[in-house]
Symmetry: C3
Subunit: 215 residues, 3 copies
């Protein structure tokens, strides 16, 4: 249906995008893991160091994003639609941005410790990032999208579980926290984590769009 | 201009998507109506039952979403661009998700009663859902998109009115509520409703994109 | 790769969209400038007048949006993909909507004065709007997209700086404001400004998509 498919029979597709997507997805996994480490770090000096590392991973992610955008401007035949390469790159960037946003809020609000729901959210974030990395590696093999579909289904289920954790935490926050400003601080952090997982689902939506087009 | 149009002259377009879109839109209308019923239910036992019904409608919506995604993977000729089928399905799902999110917050915060602005927001939500259902039923008749355009214009106007109600409620909340935590609870519910209506406008944007392509 | 490009060799492209995009971008610049003026206005009567002018600019923006949507329905050959015209128009509209949202919150919360971070955010908003206007004017000259790319890079950098200002303000708000309700009010205004700049980045993403397709 897509005229680019006809062209792609004759013209070799540029393969340089795949390593860049994979590097960006791997960077996302590292950011999510570093964030989980942050939640387990109680010493305030160690925390500052871990928060700085999350920020550095975000900067590294920005570099991958810019490199991919530059390649897009100079490459004629792409492995899939140009706008989907753009959307995939932006959505990977967004997840990392929100994880960094949550780390920044921890720096600002300096909570002494984290309840199990925060740890659970960071576990789900690592799981989602890992599924994204699996799916992104399968993009080289678009004619057999079964594994990508499986990862997307898992990411959707992770997002549903994160929603439940978020609602549960919201409930317990309002039941136990009587200091409004403390409540707002906790709510800010858990909300930013929930948005990070929403953005992971956006990555999954872009991946679905890509495989839907070649189906 | 679109090569898929040329193909569609010769190949019969698969018609199985329309009943699924319609079922999803009808499920959205039912969710909005059930939510309005929730706001009029004061007995706490009855409320729990209505909130559970909203949750069940959301689960039912998820099933339509998954069925449509599966059909997309196995169907060659679709009635309009595959990515737009995906976007329409996701955006319908989002509205239902936010209505359920508002119901969950009512379960968490247990407000004793609802001011007229909450009722008004739920009325606007039912109106928007009803226009979405009308427009989705007209997708079978894409060559004559006038009714879809009319529904989209109405949804835009509903969103503008919801914005005014939201700003008015925000104003009165801050004028009358001196307990910060109570204020946050009310603000959370009305904000989630406002986002649900924003998402209804996103459905309208997808519908516009679909008819714009075939114009 | 894009069949519309082949068609466009033979069929004259309709030029009436460019003045409309430019009018919408110019209206955005004026809205951002008017908002900056609002932050410098302390007299409450003058403020009401400036807030009303922001609202009028938003209404004017809505009219450009509707005119472009109507043109899209009646025009066969467009200067770039119909869905991108739609996305560009919607995203310009969104920025103006959020600026108006911030003005509405100032009307509701009536802060006596604005800290330097608010002024800084409004400066960044004017900068972003100005880059958008520059880029939109270059859309007439799509074969030479270098200036558009430069504006998009600048908008990305403005968004990063706005993020830093936002985090800094969040930090200082929680350090200095002990009244939870006052804190929520300030947070609401700065958050809405931050979202307006996020939406400016969405415009930049649409512009990138447009030039990526013709690359």
């Amino acid at each position: 249906m897509n005229i680019s498919k006809i062209f792609q029979i004759f013209v070799p597709v540029d393969k340089k995008f795949f390593p860049l997507f994979e590097a960006s997805a791997e960077n996302l996994v590292q950011t999510a893991q570093k964030f989980r480490q942050l939640l387990l770090t109680t010493d305030s000096f160690d925390r500052m160091s871990v928060i700085r590392q999350v920020k550095e991973l975000e900067n590294r992610g920005d570099e991958f994003t810019h490199t991919i955008f530059n390649e897009l401007s100079s490459t004629f035949i792409t492995p899939f639609d140009r706008e989907d390469i753009h959307a995939l790159t932006s959505s990977l960037d967004d997840v990392v941005d929100y994880i960094n946003g949550a780390a920044q809020r921890i720096e600002i609000f300096k909570p002494k410790e984290f309840s199990p729901e925060f740890i659970k959210m960071s576990d789900l974030l690592v799981e989602a990032a890992t599924e994204i990395e699996i799916a992104v590696k399968e993009l080289r093999n678009l004619k057999n999208p079964q594994k990508i579909i499986e990862s997307c289904i898992k990411i959707n289920s992770i997002e549903n579980r994160a929603d439940d954790v978020y609602h549960y935490k919201l409930k317990s926050l309002f039941e136990t926290e009587n200091d409004a400003i403390e409540l707002i601080k906790r709510k800010e952090i858990i909300e930013t984590l929930e948005k990070a997982i929403d953005k992971a689902e956006d990555v999954s939506d872009v991946l679905r769009t890509i495989i839907i087009k070649v189906a």
